[in-house]
Point group: C2
Amino acid sequence: MTENERANETAMNTMADDPKPQTVPVVAVVLAAGFGTRFDPDNPKQLVSVGGKPIVCWSIEAFERCARVSDIVVVVNSKVREEVESLIDQQGYGKVRVVIDGGAERVDSTAAALDTLAQAGIPGDAKILIHDAVRPFVAQSAIDGSIDALDQFKAATVAYASTDTVLLTQDLGDLKVVKSVPDRPNTFRAQTPQSFRFATIRKAYELAAQDPDFHPTDDTRVVVDYLPGEPVAIVSGAETNLKITTLEDIPTAERIAEQLEGFDPKEAARARMHALLAQAAGQMR
Amino acid sequence: MTENERANETAMNTMADDPKPQTVPVVAVVLAAGFGTRFDPDNPKQLVSVGGKPIVCWSIEAFERCARVSDIVVVVNSKVREEVESLIDQQGYGKVRVVIDGGAERVDSTAAALDTLAQAGIPGDAKILIHDAVRPFVAQSAIDGSIDALDQFKAATVAYASTDTVLLTQDLGDLKVVKSVPDRPNTFRAQTPQSFRFATIRKAYELAAQDPDFHPTDDTRVVVDYLPGEPVAIVSGAETNLKITTLEDIPTAERIAEQLEGFDPKEAARARMHALLAQAAGQMR
């Protein structure tokens, strides 16, 4: 076993063989409000198809498929709302309770979802799984592992041990220099879902809201920084749970999609043809 | 510009428009001694072909091609020595001065190379660029940038700003929990080459050798931990400067190879055919 595999082994794995009876709501929040500045502005990345299916559909379906998830909240921006709503209708996603507007930053979108849940009277011990829509290939084991982890911890995040050595840097004039090199077995790349008991993430966000300097890129960090006494568990992620950030990620995503349940080869071929025709039409313009 | 692009901008870029006259030896050390436990044990990863060319050849050629590099030292293990030597002969790599045996760990291989250089009487201000052979697609700009950085610093590493949030973890019993979440613009993934003035890396290794508990995965860390007063500059890396670690990296590597100078489509087709035939033969066994 490599050092990396050993590090991933220490992350929590699902205990699905022995599921506890579920007594609280398990709510998935799918964040699909990002604009993806490095993507085609006319075709936001959450709507791009991989394996013949829009990225946002892959993400919603991952939580539709998990029997332990009771409800789904989808967070969008006004630019994609209409299309996302029509996809949800077409596909008949039965757990999606509401599609809400997000905010300018990722944390604003999470905050909007938490407000909606509070207004809906969700109990403090509900399990909230916050997921980036642009991670379409999240494994069922990561979702199960997140739900399980919240029996022992009040916060957890899916993460994957870094294969590269991570360097922490600091500024030296205009330049970056290395500040420290943490031990590789203790460096993980954060993925999603990031999961919390509702009262815990709500409290952390309330504290963060009072700090004007705080702009986290990550929900876990809100808990780590504002509720430092609260341990956040690491749940086993995977290389395939990638975040689609640029167009260059699409070929890798297509390869992963082909190997997954839910892949529709006919639909994929049709979509590829469509993309090629659109490209050709663009070149003729 | 995204946050990530901004972070990469603060890394040093090559100043190749205004090269200084070169007065010291510039030695590339290509580390090709790893075994790659996650790879086919009968076909070590540094010998696998991508784009029709063995990975180790891509790496050596990157330094052959840079006019400012004066000498190359290749570090191997006994299992691949014969094949690497014959590739060097076949390809006529004119800067390769010596092929030496590495050690059990990465740092042992670096230490062996440093000993060889000392015995050869290399001056203390020589610039030493240490490169992982399994990063075949290092850009000329990264090599130039490394050589330039050593005019201002005594140590530098190529690195690429992390697109993922990095989590630093600690153990809680058998499990990992999050310890802290560093600011993303200050988290970089270390790549190679990692570059040093010879006297600096030699001194750092001498100090490290006296510490039996020290097993770094990275040469930069030896300087950061043992010569803490010595700033290590960050030189702009690239996503394409990937480390080939598992067989799953090969399709990505093939895609990168196709876009690079030095790619031979005929040879690549021949190699692919060869691989398919070998696979078929294996299935018939």
